[in-house]
Symmetry: C2
Subunit: 480 residues, 2 copies
């Protein structure tokens, strides 16, 4: 086949693929704009577009709205979890898991470590801290009574109205009176579980799951039944339905959008089915939507709650990851459990600080939030691409990683021979903190997995830490 | 006996007593200063002092440091509670009590009502709101990372150090690392109970007790055993010791200083004995010190925890009533339960907002807090005197009230024939909110009692509301 018989767009596509193979174009790099490429190569816009679209269709690049085309990492996805058999019985929470959580949290808090672990930026300009600070300052000065007076529940009407308004982007239709303000999403999850369970009850959780749910369940005397959770298909609804049909669980806790630690989301059809199961089996679904607004693609995929006909879904969320990490303002819409949750808030911690609620309400009102989210989505998408690219380069062959649909977290599977707990210890000895996969299930599964965060500027220090981590993992593989 | 045989100081004392009897000197009025009285009457300073001291010894006036002598109300104290028999068995929590709490809290939140109910000022200049607002503004502007970064536990070291320093005034010797920051005192109480009890356990509480403990206990599945609590002697330690000897309770919850609703404090010897009982029977004492710094007399009486040799006392406190009602920053020192409490905070609500913690720490550091408390104590002492005086004048004969040792709350016993719940309803129909006594015990006792707040400027509106309340109570008495 001579060059002449190859269409022009294919020649361009092949050239770009070669550049990706030999590293001239690395993961996360932006392709020249269609217009630029057309101009510099003397091609028509349609030709360039055809090349870019082929690369996109084959998974080599991805289009990001208003940003252009970016090279994707060639990291493979982790294999699907085993079949649903492991969902059938609760397993005791391993004390070693709780100890490990404590060690990891302590490592995250140490300012000396290079932090690849914490699920929130430390420093950087990811959040509009200065603007929020000015708003807090203005609110405090103009309304000192918000500081001198008792913060009464249910709290700022402005904030609750704005929460309801912005929640429309997730397909939610709520009234401000249905919203209970909480001390972050964690208090919302705590209240949800305390409202719908009693000690000794079993609840279904995703596997892997957000790790802080494990000590919480333990303290509430709950048993956890793990549901296999696939990065692309979400939690196994077949396994869930089996449990429900046997009436063995009092609630399901899940993170259908931008899962922590997977970084991925449940397909729409699965969300719809989950909402139906809740109604059919009259079981509360506790939907953790903490990262849902950080989905890269817009319009956002709607939440499970948007399909909830009979108010069985308790939606928990917060502005901690999307706007104001330091405010600790979360919220919940508890459906049929609203009254109980509102009463529980009053006798558990009364209210949130009025001055911060009012400042946040003002920010949400003036339109800045939508723009901020747009910027943040692009930023985190490129951060995650960059992170995937670095992992691809510096981790041992056979390493796999999820391909997040939002947020700044990534789930990495290391090759055979690696041990995530030992890797955590080894990394810590190099002043690097990571989150081993064993934290994310009550039984300590995922000992070849890591959750890595990508919410930091890629400084030399961070790149160096990732390189070191890859070397430590490679040493483990070789030594197996 | 002629006038000549009466010492000069006695003549003066008698004159002043006459003036109090016929209303020329009403409750809360300030006597002329010793120097003024000596000058205007041509007496020696010692003679005037002797008269004032006799009046003080007999309970007609009280001396307030740096302020002078003030006429005390002649309201009688409520009779002592019955003997300890009622402490012997847990009684179920009356659903009507929980409903009534919800109604009262809703009434407090209605801005249209004249509020004699809420245990916190609404408006007024009781707290340095403007100064705190400036501090929040400055802290936010200088340290925007406190807003843009995640608020990590254990939170502001400056604040915890300052808490430990100021706690010395209550006889407490603590390290900053032993302090867990909480969302107000309510979250501290919640964590204390969740740490030392399991559902089905019984706990001892004072009777009357802070009402919000009742729904909290209910939600935690706890049984409450009521301990008779005397305004001057505190909770019945004999009744407590009987329970402890039978190993029937898992914790004691009490408010030894400036009790809500009584307004009074436990004697020092009783505090010492309570601490000994904790050690002897190895039972956690949850000491609610929310108002302890608002004791009128200084130096402050030490907390029960100051006598705690073996770390059985869990001290819970907050700045909500003493400095910054809108911050919702509380704290606890959990003794031997520290690690468990710190872990519970992390998996229940993670942390408090860093910017408010840092601003509060700065206020506590610069010395303004001590002066503020000095002013607040004098202010609340005179508010309570004023309130007692008004009650004395406008409530039906036979009304009794406690004589608070601190804070701004008062416990009123109405004459036979009155019913606190009906009075609450009648007052609400007049746009006045009060707190009926029935809220303060799980079994709905105290149906002739009210808790009244004195934390508002005595405007015509408030005086009028008190007069109306007295008339409504008098009508109930007559109609009995």
């Amino acid at each position: 086949m001579t060059n002449e018989s190859v269409p022009l767009y294919q020649t361009l596509a092949n050239e770009l693929r070669d550049a990706m193979s030999d590293g001239r174009l690395s993961a996360g790099a932006r392709l020249p704009s269609v217009r630029e490429a057309a101009h510099s190569r003397g091609l028509s816009i349609n030709t360039v577009l055809a090349a870019y679209r082929q690369l996109e269709a084959r998974g080599f690049v991805e289009a990001r709205p208003q940003s252009g085309y970016f090279v994707r990492s060639r990291l493979a996805a982790p294999p699907a979890p085993e079949a649903g058999a492991r969902a059938v019985r609760p397993r005791p929470i391993e004390p070693a898991v709780l100890d490990r959580i404590a060690s990891v949290v302590a490592a995250q808090a140490d300012p000396e470590h290079v932090d690849l672990s914490l699920a929130c930026p430390k420093g950087g300009d990811f959040y509009p801290a200065a603007r929020l600070a000015r708003l807090v300052a203005d609110t405090a000065r103009r309304h000192p009574h918000l500081i001198g007076d008792y913060s009464l529940p249910p709290g700022s009407r402005r904030l609750r109205r704005e929460i309801a308004r912005h929640a429309q982007a997730l397909g939610l239709s709520m009234e401000s009176d249905e919203i209970v303000l909480t001390n972050g999403c964690m208090e919302a999850l705590q209240f949800a579980l305390r409202t719908v369970t009693r000690p000794g009850d079993a609840v279904a959780m995703e596997s892997p799951t957000y790790f802080n749910l494990i000590p919480l369940a333990k303290r509430l005397g709950l048993q956890i039944i793990e549901l296999p959770t696939h990065p692309e298909r979400g939690l196994s609804l077949d396994a869930l339905e089996m449990l429900l049909s046997e009436q063995r669980i009092k609630a399901v806790v899940c993170m259908p959008d931008v899962h922590n630690p997977l970084g991925t989301s449940m397909p729409l059809a699965a969300k719809r089915r989950l909402a139906s199961l809740a109604t059919e089996y009259r079981v509360p679904v506790i939907e953790d939507a903490l990262y849902a607004e950080l989905q890269y693609a817009t319009p956002l995929q709607p939440a499970v709650k948007s399909f909830d006909r009979d108010d069985w879904v308790i939606l928990c969320a917060s502005y901690t990851k999307t706007l104001a990490p330091g405010f600790r303002i979360g919220w919940m819409e508890a459906g049929r459990f609203h009254r109980e949750v509102a009463d529980l808030k009053f006798c558990s911690s009364v209210a949130q600080p009025a001055v911060l609620c009012e400042a946040l309400g003002t920010f949400l009102e003036d339109g800045g939030y939508t723009q901020h989210l747009r910027r943040l989505r692009r930023l985190y998408a490129s951060q995650i691409d960059r992170l995937r690219g670095v992992i691809d380069e510096v981790f041992p062959t056979g390493t796999r990683a999820t391909d997040p649909t939002g947020g700044f977290l990534l789930w990495v599977e290391l090759p055979e021979g690696c041990d995530a707990n030992r890797l955590f210890d080894a990394a810590l000895a190099h002043g690097i903190s990571i989150t081993p996969g064993t934290l994310f299930s009550p039984s300590g599964r995922y000992d070849r997995h890591l959750r890595l965060s990508g919410c930091y500027p890629f400084s030399d220090r961070h790149i160096h830490a990732l390189v070191t981590l890859g070397q430590l993992a490679a040493e483990q593989c070789r030594g197996r």
